[in-house]
Amino acid sequence: MKDRLSAFYWLHETQFAQISSNLITSQRRKAIDIFETEGFPTVRNEDWKYTSLKKLIAPNYVLPSPFASFDEEEQVEYKDIKKFLVNDIDCYQVVFINGRYSSWLSQTTHSKYDICTLGSAWKKYPKIVEENFNKLTKDDGPLVQLNTALAWEGLYVNVPKNIVVEKPIQVLYFTTGSTPVFNQTRSLVILAEGSSAEIIERHHSLTNHETWTNAVDEIQIGSNSSIHWVKLQHDSPQASLTQHSKINQEKDSKAIVHTISTGGKFIRNNLDFSLSGPGAEAHMFGLTLGNDRQLVDHHTRVDHIAPNCSSHETYKGIYDDYSKGVFNGKIYVHTDAQKTAAYQQNNNLILSEKASIDTKPQLEIYADDVKCSHGCTVGQLDEDALFYLRARGIRLKEAKALLMLAFANDAISDIQHPSLRVKLSQLIGRKLGVDMSTVL
């Protein structure tokens, strides 16, 4: 697999050079070199101790590229994807099919701000892309390097100073076809000073074949700006996702990221914040519902670089059947980051004997005037709470689902759109085998 990927790069290098500037090409080459040297991470690597990529890299994936001709099988119509859209909120919409931008399913804009695709930004805004691309990711691990080398499409957002993006940006990555597919998606989001945007992101496979999306996001948040980003990871049972999201925050900026992982086969999230301007505030919420043989691995890292920043992290997980969870939350308080406030919480429910969670907080603190706390719990549903609900006439299965929703509530209550919250609750209900429409 590793050799095929690097061969793919070298075979197409001249073509890659045509879609982006020379600077980017040299970065691609550096990245493929690192990938070739390091290869896929193994469980001997501390960051991958609990999560083996062995099975994920086994299938004989097809690698979609801008250089291959458009395949009939990739044809997707509105009716095929309608149910994956958040329809009742007016949104910008950026849709990709096997990494290729689908203009007829999308609604982009260049009027007050740019909401479009990286594929077009390479050409249209080479300077801005050069200034920002690979800035946050150049020292990352081999999966990120692989993406840097091979990525050609993804979301591009650039919001100028003091502008608010009026409606949410819905970005959808679909995978389809009659073979296993391995996609690299790459997004670049730049919010200038005093601006704000909201992104709802979803990856979904439309095929029964194995799919793997290796996504990388770089997000630059200027001073006094804010972003709210909701990641819906509710993919089909054959779909896998590895995603590295890197967020840099300047002075007094605010970021809220919700990661809702309720579907898919294998999910690995790396969510990293650099709080580089004083007063920056990062909020992370995670909700994981695992069943069957799902694996969901959350690695988060917050670098408190500047003073007076705060980070708040709440991750909840419910694991059933043979599912497996990993939570690794790292908080790194640098020497100058005095008056840091960092809070981390990871709570888990284990519903079956074969399900498991490995949870590990990691705090490294090099400043002396900081407030940090962390806590993790692993438990079962509270029997007394179940009795209370059942004594009100609520059947066991419904009672369990209600308690799980209550447990999960913290992780979704800050999502702004009531309709999205309701949709999520219903989705969670369906996952738990219960009709939640009457409850919420």
């Binding site: 509270d382 004594a391 509530n409 209550s413």
Partner: protein, 249 residues
Amino acid sequence: MLEIVNLHASIDDNVILNGINLKVNLGEVHAIMGPNGSGKSTLSNVIAGHDGYDIISGDILFDGESVLDFPPEKRAHLGLFLSFQYPIEIPGVTVSNFIKTALNEIRNARGEEPLAASPMLKMMRDKMKVLEMDKGFLSRSLNEGFSGGEKKRNEIFQMAMLEPKIAILDETDSGLDIDALRIVANGVNSLRSKENTFIIITHYQRLLDYIIPDFVHVLFNGRIVKSGGKELALELEKRGYDWIKKEQE
């Protein structure tokens, strides 16, 4: 309506109930009093079907039918309600949605159609008025951040909505100030009818100043050792439980 026959029950091999006999008919209000540790809460939990207890022997009958094998929800469907001493907090589920869910689960089990939204809301508003509850209550998360009094009032509100045939009030008076006590008692009194029955479990007599019982039973060491009319409660208030303990020794 409810009959408890020579009931013995234990938890973790500790026998708590030691041969309880009690018969409750429709239209009656029974008070069960007793010192701490006499088995009052165990009795209410066992009647409601908590599965943390082992039933050693004896029976619990609703309308002549044994319910020992029924899970708690089925007992609720038959018309049993337990007002909890310590109601559970359920963040993210509003009071109104919780009651709607419970009520429609019960209706569904009885083969009735779910109650539509507007009659449901009207019913809620009517009942809330009796309990002097604020409308904003409905949209709060169930019991989350409620004061002790609000929790108890919420229990009685649920009872009013679910219209049980047998309602057990477990230490409903604990943690209530005198005003809340009066409101809760008014709520209960407004629900009293020939079609239902109440079992009031309490340590103190003061709730019984407001809800006048037909019968008072004294529970001690897992058995009902004395039964009488409402004057028994007054006697207990005056003399405490020591004389009962002495009588038993």
